[in-house]
């Protein structure tokens, strides 16, 4: 009896891996070119910035909060990177990290110090980020100078067949994983999500921890913005519009609970791979765009249902 239960809960724990493998299997069977080198390289380029965004955002969700403006922050930072990369060169990347951290700090301070739910705060600050993006780029996407394209081309060029941008994603995952697992702030983020009152009483500076989550997320979003600028070789003021929900969906797909307290950036990264593979697969199969929304919606519900471990009886889900 007991051992049976164990294997079941184990299964739901590995569901996230199972589902990504399943997605790859299904698409490969339907369409062998899904795993061609060109296709895989595309996938790597495609997931890299989204991994950054989603992994950073995960930390806010671990605290039980949400950032509805993450995508807008990507837009703003993509615009800044795209417009000024020709001026600062690759130095724009560390600059963006700092800018992102500052934007995150602003969010975090309002949430932690003014005690306004993150839902409201980020709903409002997202207008600010969008404003920055559209004010800097009032006439839509601005391409990086044609002459400068070569100089930022290294990001999407390949090393041993693997796009360099993907190494960025890998390194970021590693750093974030170390932060999550091996720093006190990182671990405290989960504690805050699980029970903020108890964590506070255990002598953790929960305000600082909450702010830290927003700062990390801000820096990651900004780096994602810079990567998008490198990848698109332009400043795109609307790039983030659809990304907030993609990122949240990836996080949910990874099995991270929206209520906070548990999850992992590794799971989120796998979630990103899954969701991107699904869209790519559908694109490659030439699915009628009229049906695409419906298929993605259904897949999302099923996948989140399978991956979430909130199946206990007495868990209150909101």
């Amino acid at each position: 009896m007991k051992s049976k239960k164990f294997s079941l809960s184990d299964l739901s724990q590995y569901m996230v891996i199972i589902s990504v493998v399943l997605v790859f299997l299904v698409f490969t069977v339907l369409n062998p070119s899904f795993v061609s080198a060109y296709s895989l390289q595309n996938l790597m380029v495609e997931i890299s910035p989204l991994i950054l965004l989603a992994c950073g955002l995960s930390f806010i969700i671990f605290t039980g909060g949400i950032d509805l403006g993450a995508g807008a922050m990507v837009s703003a930072t993509c615009v800044i990177s795209g417009l000024y990369v020709s001026q600062f060169g690759n130095g724009i990347i560390p600059i963006m990290l700092v800018i992102g951290a500052v934007l995150g700090l602003l969010n975090g301070c309002i949430v932690a110090k003014l005690k306004i739910p993150s839902f409201i705060v980020t709903l409002c600050t997202q207008n600010l980020w969008a404003f920055i993006a559209l004010t800097l780029c009032p006439n839509g996407s601005v391409a990086v100078d044609l002459s400068f394209r070569k100089e930022i081309g290294w990001m999407t060029s390949k090393l041993a067949g693997i796009p360099i941008i993907f190494f960025f994603a890998l390194v970021s995952i590693a750093v974030l994983f170390i932060f999550q697992q091996y720093t006190s702030s990182g671990r405290a983020i989960f504690a805050v999500g699980a029970n903020i009152r108890a964590t506070r009483l255990a002598g953790i500076d929960t305000d600082k921890v909450q702010i830290m989550a927003f700062v990390v997320s801000g820096a990651c979003s900004a780096l994602a913005g810079a990567l998008y600028a490198y990848k698109q070789k332009s400043a795109v003021p609307t790039i983030g519009d659809a990304l907030t929900l993609s990122a949240i969906a990836s996080i949910a797909l990874g099995g991270t609970s929206m209520a906070g307290g548990r999850g992992s950036v590794l799971r989120t990264a796998i979630g990103v791979v899954t969701i991107t593979a699904i869209t790519s697969g559908l694109n490659m199969m030439g699915i009628d765009p009229l049906w695409k929304n419906i298929i993605i919606g259904v897949i999302l519900i099923v996948a989140v249902y399978l991956n979430s471990d909130t199946k206990g009886r007495d868990i209150i889900v909101k």
Binding site: I196, I248, L290, G297
Partner: protein
Amino acid sequence: MNNKRRGLLETLTVGQQFVARAEDNARMDKIRRYAPLILLVIMTAIGGISQKNFFSWANIVNIMFQMSIPLVISVGLSYVLLLGSIDLSIEGNMGFAGSLVAFLVINNSNSNNFGIFGIIVVILIGVAVGALVGFLHTKAKIASFIVTYAMGCIMTGAAILIYRGTPIQVKDPMFVTISQGRLFGIPYITLISFAVFIIGAIIMNYTAFGRAVFAIGDNEAAAASTGINITRTKIKVFALCGCTAAIAGVLQCMRLKLGQSDLGLNQMFPVVTAIVLGGGSVSGGKGGALQSFVGVLIYTELANWLTLMGVDTNVKKVIQGIIIIIAVTLTVEHNRKTVVK
């Protein structure tokens, strides 16, 4: 509490002090509860003083007309927020309802003429979709956030499937009459939305179901212990929200005479904002139909005023954001035990 009074109170016994503190808290609560109304008065005053046309009958009609659809959305969404949940499928539902109703009444792309039955069918589908959302949310225990987001995707897709790219133009004279007609100078659409609001308010305030929603949002565990059927209540709430989203979609279609999937675009977050402005809480248990009404009115007046002032759209959004943060800061209770996520 000012220092003088504090000094006076210092001489009291702990028990008396306790009572004094409780009274102070009650007073602050009261102020907080009436803050939205005060905000409304201020907003109205600012509008009236700075814009000579603000109080013209035509502009008042405009405000009423412009608040109609948000008001209808707010009726259902208020219930969802009272539970502490969220419904992101509203925009998709609106797009679907608008597209389908355009398809069913007299239009330029087919020979359907179901008239009022078409509208009823569309609203019933809205209810069914909402109920399905509620079912998935409660039975599969998926956060409402995700279920409704996914359902929104599905409904948007379904809407586009109906008209396959070329938006349907509505030719039904009934739609023309409703969108242009007035009674005592008040547009029919406004009257319809007020009627929906009144029904919603009655359900919220005069039925056991309405009370159960409040109870669940405030304290789900306690509500469960008094024997309320949590699952059924939640499903009903989402069904209701689906219903009002469908009505809003139909009204939007009447307003524009067009069936298109983006009829609902950007309609939901302003209403969430409005509800919060009215004193509702996104974490549940706080708010109500009347509060939502006040919130929608404040929001519409604000938007109307900013337009009359000729403020640029993006600046408008930033201003709205800042106003909301200030308003929420003033109305949220900040004791040390508050848990904010």
